[in-house]
């Protein structure tokens, strides 16, 4: 099939996927992954060069957007609980899946590391949708879960960048430019956006894209990955986007209309139906290896910081989607994992988006209004007499 024929077929698939997404209420990314799987297997399409290129850039844009969507002030308020839960949520499945893939499945250490990273993620967006839909995003527990998810994601992008680096002399300019962009872009954004922003030609989006392409190029020359600097760049730009919502919306429009559909389609097209069918047992094992350490690692901490909703917190921290797909695609593109391993990892990632979310919502979802009342009680000022005596209402000394 010619490039144009493939482009036409995929553009039609993207259109149908977005329509199905609206009709059934599932996220468009999940439908695009499924559509890519069907089209790729039905037509036995190989991935053309242009799709691989757009898909790689879209992965970095998705990472930047994920960073830009972090609520930094909220994280500062909840950092203690968030770091504890988030780090365990990342490290427990990373270590367990990595070791079991290495020793149990005979994958080499780089393949095992990709498996560990891909299955250690927590989906910020899946968690966010559950919390917003239930109203729990306004509660302390909801804010704590969101912040912990950010820490897990930071662990993922750090591991993806650091573990696979084979430094060349280009690592120096890569690091210098990354730091310069992370420090400089938020400062440059104010005068640049004031002078060139709010135009249909979108210089502000072009500035971000140019920065991301620069990071990708230097990262490639340094035998490294642009995901960590892209994520942190998004993070330092998040406050700017809070003040300039329209810019963020335009960025999302460009990303969702053209870039991310090709990323998820490409992911789906690389999933082999025969590889999945022939390895259902390994698929089940990988899913268990992701879930069990998440549950065993996060639950005790969730009991401490998110009681009485430890089960709900643990299940949400066990979800995954975007970063799991990004990590798996990185492994495939870099030739670290083969198509069978990629198919298994992406299938587990998709399962982990659906299964723990459905269980959490069906059986463990807290009541938002009740939580808000409890939160207000927890932060309510003590009676004046008790305050004057330097004691809380339950007699505990106030420092």
């Amino acid at each position: 099939m010619s490039d144009l024929a493939v482009a036409a077929l995929l553009a039609g698939t993207i259109l149908v996927a977005s329509m199905i997404s609206v009709e059934v209420g599932f996220s468009v990314a999940l439908i695009e992954l499924a559509a890519g799987f069907i089209v790729g297997n039905a037509f036995s399409l190989s991935i053309p060069g242009w799709l691989a290129f757009i898909g790689s850039f879209a992965g970095v844009v998705l990472t930047f957007l994920a960073g830009a969507e972090v609520d930094v002030p909220q994280f500062r308020r909840e950092w203690r609980a968030s770091i504890a839960i988030g780090l365990v949520s990342f490290s427990a499945p990373f270590v367990v899946v990595g070791l079991l893939a290495y020793y149990g499945l005979g994958w080499n250490h780089r393949q095992a590391e990709i498996a560990g990273i891909a299955l250690s993620t927590t989906s910020l967006a899946v968690v966010y949708a559950v919390l917003v839909e239930s109203g729990l995003n306004q509660t302390i527990i909801g804010k704590r879960i969101m912040s912990a998810t950010f820490v897990t994601d930071l662990g993922t992008v750090t591991a993806l960048t650091v573990l696979f680096v084979k430094p060349t002399i280009w690592i120096l300019p890569f690091v210098v430019v990354s730091v310069a962009l992370i420090v400089g872009l938020p400062k440059l954004a104010v005068p640049f956006f004031a002078r060139y922003g709010n135009r249909v030609i979108e210089p502000e989006i072009k500035l971000v894209f140019a920065s991301l392409f620069l990071l990708m190029w230097l990262g490639g020359r340094a035998n490294s990955q642009a995901v960590l600097p892209a994520f942190i760049l998004g993070l330092v730009m998040s406050q700017h986007y809070v003040q300039h919502r329209t810019e963020q919306e335009r960025m999302r429009v460009v990303a969702f209309a053209f870039l991310t559909p090709f990323f998820f389609l490409k992911g789906g097209m690389n999933v082999s139906a025969s590889a999945l069918w022939g390895n259902l047992g390994i698929l089940a094992l990988l899913f268990l290896w992701k879930m069990l350490p998440k549950l065993a690692g996060v639950y005790p901490l969730a009991r401490r910081y998110c009681a009485p909703h430890a089960a709900f917190t643990t299940l949400l921290m066990s979800t995954g989607l975007t970063f799991g797909t990004i990590s798996s695609l990185y492994g495939l593109n870099a030739g670290i994992i083969n198509r069978t391993q990629f198919s298994l990892l992406v299938a587990v990632v998709v399962l982990s988006a659906i299964v723990p979310t459905a269980i959490a919502q069906r059986f463990f979802q807290p009541h938002a209004e009740r939580e808000l009342v409890n939160d207000q009680r927890a932060v309510a000022p003590m009676p004046p007499a008790a305050a004057a005596a330097g004691r809380s209402t339950d007699g505990v000394e106030v420092v």
Binding site: S27, A29, A66, A125, A129, A255, A353
Partner: protein, 140 residues
């Protein structure tokens, strides 16, 4: 049986408008307090980006908050004062939950009549009728 607190579900559809009109008549007849519940429905399940969730939520907020103005005007024309609540969530669960929490005496809602979906999954009206803690009036 006197109804003092009536909950009516609205979503801007023709059947919900008919249900709302019926609820207004009932509330006027019985001097009952009427609350209109605008349910935004679920957000995209298993989203890959916060942006997708945010955009859908914003669109829903605009649409469902916009339902409040004509609902209040229609109530004022009927000589009634109503409360309007806009909430995200799954309609059947939310209507039953709000009815329980607010100790409502009657729930009024429309029936859209999707033949295939109703036979496969059961309609929202069926599920509310099954789970609500009070009488349910389904307006066709």
């Amino acid at each position: 049986m006197p109804f003092e607190r009536i909950l009516v579900a609205i979503d801007g559809s023709d059947c919900s408008n008919r249900a709302y009109g019926t609820a207004l008549e009932l509330a006027a007849l019985m001097s009952a307090k009427l609350t209109a519940l605008a349910i935004e429905g679920p957000l995209p399940a298993y989203a890959a980006t916060i942006g997708e969730v945010d955009e859908v939520k914003r669109e829903k907020d605009e649409f469902f908050t916009g339902l409040a103005t004509p609902a209040c005007r229609q109530a004022a024309d009927a000589g009634l004062e109503i409360d309007v609540e806009v909430r995200p969530g799954h309609p059947a669960d939310l209507i039953s939950r709000v009815a329980t929490e607010g100790s409502y005496d009657l729930v009024v809602l429309g029936h859209r009549g999707h033949f295939v979906r109703d036979h496969l999954l059961g309609s929202t009206a069926d599920r509310v009728a099954e789970h609500a803690p009070c009488p349910v009036m389904i307006v066709r």
